[in-house]
Amino acid sequence: MAEEMKVIVFTLGKEEYGIEVDKVRTIERLTSITRVPKTPEFVKGVINLRGVVIPVIDLRGRFGLPESDLGENARIIIVAANDLEVGFIVDSANDVIDVMSDTIESPPEVVGGIRAKYLSGVAKVSETRLLILLNLSEVLNRGEIIQLEQLGE
C-alpha cells in the first residue's frame, strides 16, 4: 500500500527539491543574517527567528553548488530534525505537494553534483517533473561540520 506524504517544494537553481512537511517549522523571508566567524563557508550565520537564534546555512554551499545571487523569491526554510533547528537558504519555496511513496526511487549516484548521501530519493511527480528528496539527517550531520571547522583552523 503506497503511502502519501506531503512535501514542501523548493528550488536551488533549476532543480526542485522536497522536504517532508513535518520536518519544516516555518518558511521565512530573508532577514539580516549575522555572520559567525570560524565556521565553514556554507554557514551563513545566525538569524533572529522570533526571539530564538537559529543558524542558517546556504544549501547551495552545503551541496557544493556554485553560489548565486539571491533574488526576491529567496526564502529561509526552518527545519527541525535530529534535535537541531536550522534554516536553509533556498532560491524559492512555494509549493506543497503530495508524493506517493511508491513513486520514490533511490537516488542515482550523481545528481547535479550533489553527493548522493544527502538525498533520500527522487520522486517522479509527473512525466516532466522530478523532485529530489533531502536526507535531512545527513545534511545536518554535525560530524561533518566539525571536521570542516577544524580544517578551517
Binding site: T31, S32, P37, K38, V46, N48, V53, E85, R142
Partner: protein, 689 residues
C-alpha cells in the same frame, strides 16, 4: 470537591512549608531557647496539617498533628527541646518530604508514620506527663501575648482582661458572644455590622475576632466572636441580636471573674479549629483567586511570611520573552515610520511606547532569574545530619546565596552540589580527634560560595580538611589504569587533582577510608559539562580542598559593552572589561611577533578583534588611532582593538543553537538587539591564553 486543580498548589505550598520547617528547625537547634522560632515552626506545621487534611492526605495530617502536639508543649514552655526531640522532628520532616514526594508521584501521600507517631506521642506523654495541651492553662496564659499575636485569635491582652474584670466589679455584665451567620447569607459584612450596631447601642465591645476591620471587609467565614460589656441582661441581648436577619445562632456565655481565665482557654481552642479551617481554605484558594479571604490569623506572622509570589511555568516565560523580542522589533520599525511621517501625536505615542517597553523589558528579563538560594537552602540540614552521623563538627558557611542563575541551570545543579558537599564533609573534613592532632580547631568549615564573574556564575565548595593526597591519587590512578606510569611523571599537581574526576575512581580510595556512596565524581563532572560548565579542584595536602564550578548563564541577562566592527556589532561582557580608551596606532609595538602596548607601566599583549573574526569590512591597520578595550581574566590582561564603542546595554544571552555550538571558542553566545539584529557575544576568556 474537585481536588486535582488544587494539587499542584498543595505540592508547592507543602514544599515551601517543609523548607521553612527545615530552616527554622536548624535555627532552633542553634538557639533552643528562642520561643519565637517555635511559633513559626508551629504555624508551618499547623498550616501543613490543615492543608493535608483538606486534601485528604491522612498520613500527612496525622503526622503533622502529632508534631504539632509536641511543638505546642514546647512553645508553651512545657517542654524544652533536646536532641532526642530534634532528631525525631527531623525524621518527621524527612517522612513528610517522602510523603509529599509520593503525592507528586501521583500517590495518596501515604507513608509508614506509625513509629514516628508513637515516638511523638511518647514525647508528649513522657517526661512532661500530664501536661497535655489542654491542661497547660497557666503557662498558656503567661505567654498569651505571643500566642495572641501569632494567631490573631481572641486572646485578651492584659489591658482588655483588666477592663473586663473591672466592669464585673463595677456591676456590669460581661459576655463572650459567638455569632454564626447563615450559610446562604449574601451580605455577611452587612449582617455583622448590624450585629455590632445592636451591641454598641447597648454596651461596649472589648475585643472581637476577627478584627472589626476584617469583619467589615468580609474577612471571616461564618462566625465571629466578641467580648462584650453591657448592663442589658442575657435574654434580651440574645433576642436583640437574633432579630438581625440571616443570623443562624447566637451563643452567649456570661463571664464572671473565675470563668474569665477559663473561657479564654476554650476560646483559644475553638479559634484554633476555626483557624485551621480558614487557613486551609485560604492556602488552597489564594493562588487561584487573589481576592479569596485570608484570615487575620496569618497577617501578623513574623519574618517567616512567605514572599508574595506566583508560580509560572518556565515555558510560558520563554514564550513571553520571545514575544517580547518581537515587540521590540516592531517598536524600532514604528519609530522609523514615525520619523518619516512627521506627525507629532504619532511621535509622542511611539516615544511613550518606547519608554513603556523599556521598563517591560527589564521586568521580563529578570523573571527567569532565580537566586541560587533555592538550591543552597537544603544544604544546612544535609550537613547537619551528615556531621552528626559521622560524629564530626562542621560549620557550613554560605555566601552569595542571592546570586541569580537561570532557572534551567538551578534545576540541574542541585545533585552535583549535593555530591560535592557530601564529599567535603565525608572525605574532606577530618574526625574531631584527627583535627585536634593536626593542630586545627575541632570544628571543620565548609564554605559554599556563589558569585558572578563575566558571563559565568561560579560556585565554590571549600573545606579546611585534610586535602588530597597527591601520591595516593597517583598510585590509585596507575593501579586503575587511568594513567600510565610514564604519563604520570609528566602530570602537574593540578592535573593529578583532576584525576579524581576520572571514571571508575572511587573517592573513598583517595582521601578517606569511609565508604563512598558508589557514585564517582565523574558523574558530577559530566553533569556540569552537560550544563555547559566546568569544574576544577585545587587542594593543599593537610590544609583543605576547593572545588570550583563555573556555570554559564545559558539564558540570562548580562551588562555588556556593545562595539562595532564596520557593519557588524559585537558584545563584550562588561564584568571582564577593565577599561576602555583609545590609543594611537604608533604606540603598538611588536615583540617577538606579538603586538604589545604599554599599559599603566606594564606590558600587555593586544589583539585585533577584526582580525580574529575575519571582519569583512573593517581593519584596524588602516586606522591612525584605535579604540581599545582592556580585558582581564584573573591577573592576566589583554588589549582588544575594536572599531567603535556603541555603549553599555543589558543583553539577553542566547545559545547559538546546537548546530554551531561545537567549536566556537571566541563566541560564547548571541543576543538579540532592540532592532532584531543578532549580535554575537565575545568570550573574553578566549582572548587570553
Amino acid at each position: 470537591m474537585e481536588m486535582n486543580q488544587y494539587l499542584s498548589i498543595f505540592i508547592d505550598e507543602a514544599n515551601d512549608h517543609l523548607q521553612s520547617l527545615n530552616e527554622k528547625m536548624l535555627q532552633l537547634e542553634q538557639q533552643p531557647e528562642d520561643i519565637s522560632i517555635v511559633q513559626v515552626i508551629f504555624r508551618s506545621a499547623h498550616t501543613l496539617k490543615g492543608m493535608s487534611a483538606t486534601m485528604e492526605f491522612k498520613d500527612l495530617a496525622a503526622l503533622t498533628h502529632e508534631m504539632e502536639n509536641v511543638l505546642d508543649l514546647v512553645r508553651n514552655s512545657k517542654l524544652s527541646m533536646n536532641s532526642h526531640i530534634f532528631d525525631t522532628l527531623f525524621k518527621c520532616l524527612d517522612a513528610l518530604e517522602a510523603m509529599v514526594q509520593d503525592v507528586i508521584d501521583g500517590g495518596m501521600g501515604t507513608g509508614d508514620v506509625q513509629d514516628l507517631v508513637v515516638t511523638l506521642q511518647g514525647i508528649v506523654k513522657g517526661d512532661v506527663g500530664a501536661t497535655a495541651p489542654a491542661t497547660s492553662q497557666s503557662t498558656a496564659k503567661s505567654s498569651s501575648g505571643t500566642i495572641g499575636s501569632a494567631r490573631g485569635s481572641i486572646q485578651l491582652d492584659q489591658y482588655q482582661r483588666s477592663i473586663l474584670s473591672q466592669s464585673l466589679e463595677g456591676g456590669h455584665s460581661a459576655f463572650y458572644i459567638e455569632v454564626m451567620v447563615r450559610e446562604d447569607c449574601v451580605l455577611k459584612a452587612a449582617r455583622a455590622y448590624m450585629v455590632f450596631d445592636v451591641l454598641e447601642r447597648n454596651g461596649e465591645v472589648v475585643k472581637s475576632y476577627p478584627s472589626v476591620q476584617d469583619i467589615e471587609q468580609e474577612k471571616f467565614e461564618r462566625s465571629f466572636s466578641v467580648y462584650y460589656i453591657t448592663q442589658v441582661d442575657e435574654a434580651s441581648l440574645q433576642e436583640s441580636i437574633s432579630r438581625v436577619s440571616e443570623i443562624e445562632s447566637v451563643t452567649l456565655v456570661k463571664l464572671d471573674q473565675g470563668s474569665l481565665s477559663e473561657l479564654e482557654e476554650t476560646a483559644t481552642n475553638q479559634q484554633i479549629k476555626e483557624e485551621a479551617k480558614q487557613e486551609t481554605a485560604a492556602a488552597i484558594a489564594k493562588p487561584v483567586d487573589g481576592t479569596a479571604a485570608r484570615p487575620a490569623a496569618s497577617a501578623p506572622s513574623s519574618g517567616s511570611a512567605a514572599p508574595r509570589t506566583i508560580r509560572v511555568d518556565i515555558e510560558r516565560l520563554d514564550s513571553l520573552m520571545n514575544l517580547f523580542s518581537e515587540l521590540l522589533i516592531d517598536r524600532v520599525r514604528l519609530e522609523q515610520l514615525a520619523s518619516e511621517v512627521h506627525r507629532n501625536d504619532l511621535t509622542e505615542t511611539v516615544e511613550h511606547m518606547a519608554r513603556v517597553s523599556t521598563d517591560l523589558q527589564n521586568i521580563v528579563l529578570k523573571l527567569r532569574m532565580v537566586p541560587v538560594e533555592s538550591v543552597f537552602n537544603r544544604f544546612p540540614r544535609m550537613v547537619r545530619d551528615l556531621a552528626k552521623s559521622l560524629d564530626k563538627k562542621v560549620d557550613l558557611i554560605i555566601t552569595g546565596a542571592e546570586t541569580e542563575l537561570d532557572r534551567t541551570v538551578i534545576d540541574e545543579i542541585g545533585d552535583p552540589l549535593v555530591h560535592l558537599i557530601r564529599n567535603a564533609v565525608d572525605h574532606g573534613i577530618e574526625s574531631i580527634s584527627d583535627r585536634v592532632k593536626a593542630g586545627k580547631s575541632e570544628t571543620g568549615t565548609v564554605n559554599l560560595r556563589a558569585f558572578h564573574s563575566g558571563n559565568h556564575v561560579f560556585i565554590e565548595i571549600e573545606e579546611d580538611g585534610k586535602g588530597i593526597n597527591r601520591d595516593k591519587v597517583l598510585e590509585t590512578a596507575i593501579k586503575r589504569g587511568v594513567v600510565t606510569p610514564d604519563e604520570a611523571k609528566k602530570l602537574t599537581d593540578d592535573d593529578i587533582n583532576m584525576l579524581i574526576f576520572a571514571a571508575g575512581f572511587s573517592t573513598a580510595d583517595i582521601v578517606s577510608d569511609i565508604s563512598g556512596r558508589g557514585v564517582g565524581l565523574d558523574v558530577v563532572r559530566s553533569k556540569i559539562i552537560a550544563l555547559g560548565g566546568h569544574v576544577s579542584v585545587t587542594s593543599k595536602y593537610g590544609a583543605g580542598t576547593k572545588f570550583s564550578i563555573q556555570l554559564p548563564l545559558t539564558l540570562s541577562i548580562i551588562t555588556a559593552m556593545m562595539i562595532k566592527l564596520g557593519s557588524e556589532k559585537y558584545a563584550f561582557p562588561l564584568s571582564s572589561i577593565v577599561e576602555t580608551g583609545s590609543i594611537p596606532r604608533s604606540s603598538i609595538r611588536s615583540l617577538h611577533g606579538t603586538s604589545i602596548i604599554d599599559y599603566r607601566n606594564s606590558i600587555i599583549p593586544v589583539v585585533s578583534l577584526s582580525q580574529l573574526v575575519d571582519c569583512p569590512d573593517f581593519n584596524d591597520e588602516q586606522e591612525e588611532e584605535s579604540e581599545l578595550l582592556i580585558v582581564r581574566k584573573g591577573d592576566k590582561m589583554v588589549g582588544v582593538l575594536v572599531d567603535e564603542f556603541i555603549g553599555q546595554s543589558e543583553i539577553v544571552l542566547k545559545p547559538l543553537g546546537k548546530y554551531l555550538s561545537s567549536n566556537l571558542g571566541l563566541v560564547s553566545g548571541a543576543t538579540i538587539l532592540g532592532d532584531g539584529y543578532v549580535a554575537l557575544i565575545i568570550d573574553p576568556n578566549a582572548l587570553i591564553k
